[in-house]
């Protein structure tokens, strides 16, 4: 048994020594340059070059600024720009200017300028597919104008601009107003044969950033944008999220408005036998504002308002479909998925959805359920 014992101890010794020496991938937190956001633009001088801008937090500044208050907080991040022929090329060029190793595991935002989105972003996305550090949960965003402006904002509320931006999106998601479009969703939607992707679309100014709607893609190419009203109709029909408040001018009044806040949205898609689709969408919500008193009994008020909101929402949906079908020819409604799932043999096999979506008859029917009038009696 002494041999066995020796072997046992020997094995233990080797295991211990190999485990205790640490590992090849050990990187202390302060040895990493954690990139929080990446922005990709086209270089101004050379059309063939990409300009990559990254935002890297400066740990010491962040720790210090919390005591001092927001004033010096704007400097809590370092923003660097480099150019390169591809994304990886740019990243390599960036590494040459950094004292620490680039780390993409904490990247949360990928900003793309509208210009390159319209040209197509397949080549950019490839490196993000291969890089194992990249998380599928990060948010790609299309920015009007230059993408780098999104990283250069100074929101003051948060020392790190990206944290502010993340809060903006996350909060919008929770309220059901901003669609949750992650990189993983984008990948899935581009590979899926039945649907097209879309990404959130924002505009950044000097100190602020504001969400403007979504950018609609066809393949990897951006086709155009939907403004916030159409986007809300889209996420009601696609994601069953309520979207934002619906403000409608009251008919037959001078300057009266009514605001409806949807709390729950439900949708059902039916495909008729003659291959036309109907979206049935039910919105439940409250009246949150009524700027002019209509002087009608409450029962009548409720039915009138429901009809008014229904008409408004159906108009919005019609405009949405008009844009998606005729202008952009891009099925981001997941209608193709339904068709393939339920009508594979009788429709999908014989049609080319990428072409036929444009002329596919789609109707939208809203059902409004006005539940409450707020804390006010009428």
């Amino acid at each position: 048994m002494s041999m066995g014992k020796f072997l046992r101890y020997f094995a233990l010794l080797i295991v211990c020594t190999s485990l205790l020496t640490g590992c090849w991938d050990r990187r202390e937190l302060e040895e990493r340059a954690s990139v929080l956001a990446i922005a990709i633009d086209q270089d101004e001088d050379d059309e063939n070059l990409y300009k990559m801008t990254v935002q890297i937090p400066i740990p010491i500044k962040i720790a210090g600024s919390s005591g001092k208050g927001g004033g010096s907080g704007a400097d809590a991040v370092k923003i660097m720009s480099v150019t390169g022929r591809t994304v990886t090329d740019a990243a390599n060029n960036l590494q040459m200017r950094l004292n620490q190793r680039l780390f993409l595991g904490h990247t949360r935002i990928l900003a793309l300028s509208e210009e390159i989105a319209r040209k197509g972003i397949q080549d950019i996305m490839d490196s993000f597919r291969r890089e194992p550090q990249i998380r599928r949960l990060l948010w790609p965003i299309v920015v009007r104008g230059k993408a780098s402006t999104l990283l250069e904002i100074k929101p003051r509320i948060e020392p790190i601009p990206v944290v502010f931006l993340m809060g903006l999106i996350e909060n919008g998601m929770k309220l059901g107003r901003i669609p949750d479009q992650t990189l993983g969703d984008y990948f899935n939607q581009t590979s899926n044969l039945t649907m097209e992707p879309f990404l959130n679309y924002v505009e950044a100014s000097k100190n602020e950033v504001s969400w403007k709607g979504v950018a609609v893609f066809r393949g990897h190419k951006m086709m155009g944008i939907l403004d916030h009203l159409q986007t809300w109709a889209l996420i009601q029909l696609r994601n069953e999220k309520p979207g934002g408040d619906i403000v409608i001018a009251l008919p037959k009044t001078k300057n009266g408005y009514v605001s409806f806040r949807p709390h729950f949205a439900k949708k059902k898609v039916t495909i008729q036998d003659d291959f036309s689709a109907t979206f049935h969408c039910e919105l439940q919500g409250d009246i949150v504002e009524l700027t002019e008193d209509l002087h009608i009994p409450p029962e009548q008020f409720v039915t009138q308002m429901q009809a008014l909101i229904k008409k408004e929402m159906e108009n919005r949906a019609k405009k949405l479909l008009q844009q998606l079908q005729k202008q952009y020819n891009s099925d981001i409604l997941k209608l193709g998925l339904t068709l393939r799932a339920k009508h594979y043999h009788d429709y999908w096999k014989t049609h080319d959805w990428k072409k036929d979506f444009r002329d596919f008859p789609i109707r939208v029917k809203y059902t409004i359920k006005l539940r409450r009038l707020g804390m006010e009696m009428q």
Binding site: M3, A11, L19, D25, P132, G184, L337, A341
Partner: protein, 386 residues
């Protein structure tokens, strides 16, 4: 020639230990690629593959159980020569059983190498990018070696202990990822040809390879336990888990995207957001736990090899230890033969084919041989009587 000499213990594996042993051997690196491999041929209906695949596995495992019941307390190595030889001339049996035993051992040996290589690839491509592959392999092998220093009982207990670490993370991931699921991706089911169904099922069967170790381990099952039932339950657990993972993969990614992802299950982990979970990079945690699943697969197979050799040469535990140590060296080099990830996958697929052969062919051939023997002896008996 006392058969019990080599092991100073008796048939002690409880039903639960048998289940743990089988299931944890089945569930290994295959799960990481399962959604892709099954949906590559079956598209939206990929989840059918593990279901049908399990049917083949059931039959084969049932035959193995029957073999072990006919020769209670004996391993494949011990009963082989009884099957092939006659009582009068024992050397005939020995000679004829040798090719079968050798094939079996060589297969197990190589599967150990391939599985550990795949595991190494996963770790290197996804979390520890700078770590040399060799280091990961060596660490794993040392752990395996340590296990091989012990008796069978210890193996059973280790499997029992690690069982929850294998099942729970998988279950957790599969269920948690359903919040992002798009069930339209699972439809339609009925548009694949028979040919591609067969191909898809073949991919599914590979994920069940591993239960052939029970050729050895069933010998130590407690006599009072129902081995058929243990086999049934363990395959059932694996089948359900596989199906869940495939359904989750297809419904979250869609089959088109799955084809582009190297390790779909790992991507599933990455794209799962657990509400209130602080760990942002969940995949590292998942892989850390995952090590135990791979370890049980590799270790059980390797243990079966080493233990069989010990029985073949009728030696004791000391021989086993030395052999375990010596055999690791070529194993390490074998696992490094594939030059890149495509070669690894090709080899893994080849291994799947051979597992199909071993698992289905061996039990059937053995049973045919036994039935023929029975007929002969009965006739002889009748002749003697007559």
């Amino acid at each position: 020639m006392n058969r019990r000499e080599g092991h100073g213990w008796h048939q002690t594996l409880s039903m639960w230990q048998q289940i743990c042993l089988i299931t944890s051997t089945l569930i290994g690196v295959g799960v990481l690629t399962l959604p892709r491999t099954t949906s590559s041929k079956l598209f939206e209906a990929g989840w059918i593959a593990p279901l049908i695949g399990s049917a083949g596995a059931f039959v084969s495992l049932w035959l193995i159980v029957k073999l072990s019941k006919r020769y209670p307390g004996e391993t494949f190595i011990e009963y082989s020569h009884k099957v092939w030889g006659s009582a009068r001339r024992p050397w005939v049996g020995k000679v004829f059983s040798l090719p079968w035993i050798c094939t079996y051992l060589v297969y197990l040996y190589f599967s150990t190498a391939v599985v550990s290589r795949v595991f190494g690839e996963v770790v290197v491509t996804s979390v520890l990018l700078q770590t040399p592959l060799e280091v990961i392999l060596i660490t794993m092998f040392l752990l395996v070696l340590f296990l091989c220093m012990h008796e069978v009982e210890v193996v059973a207990r280790v499997n029992e202990l690690l069982f929850p670490f294998i099942i729970l993370p998988l279950l957790f991931i599969a269920i948690a990822s359903f919040q992002k699921a798009e069930f339209g991706n699972l439809l339609p089911i009925n548009h694949v040809s028979m040919r591609s169904t067969a191909e898809g099922v073949y991919e599914g069967i590979y994920s069940y390879s591993g239960f052939e170790i029970m050729f050895v381990f069933f010998a130590y099952a407690n006599q009072n336990t129902n081995k058929e039932l243990a086999g049934f339950y363990s395959l059932l657990i694996a089948a359900l888990l596989y199906m869940l993972i495939v359904v989750a993969g297809i419904s979250v990614f869609g089959y088109e995207e799955l084809q582009r992802v190297t390790w779909p299950t790992l991507e599933l982990v990455k794209s799962t957001q657990v509400p209130g979970f602080i760990l942002e990079r969940l995949e590292s945690a998942f892989l850390a736990v995952w090590v135990s699943a791979v370890f049980t697969t590799v270790a059980n197979a390797y243990y079966a090899v080493v233990y069989s050799l010990r029985q073949l040469f009728r030696k004791g535990i000391r021989f086993q230890r030395v052999v375990a140590f010596v055999l690791l060296v070529p194993l390490f080099f074998f696992s490094r033969i594939p030059q890149n990830i495509t070669e690894v996958f090709k080899l893994a697929s080849l291994l799947g084919l051979s597992s199909l052969v071993i698992n289905l062919l061996f039990p059937v051939v053995y049973w045919v041989a036994i039935l023929i023997r029975d007929m002969v002896t009965r006739r002889e008996g009748r002749n003697v009587d007559g």
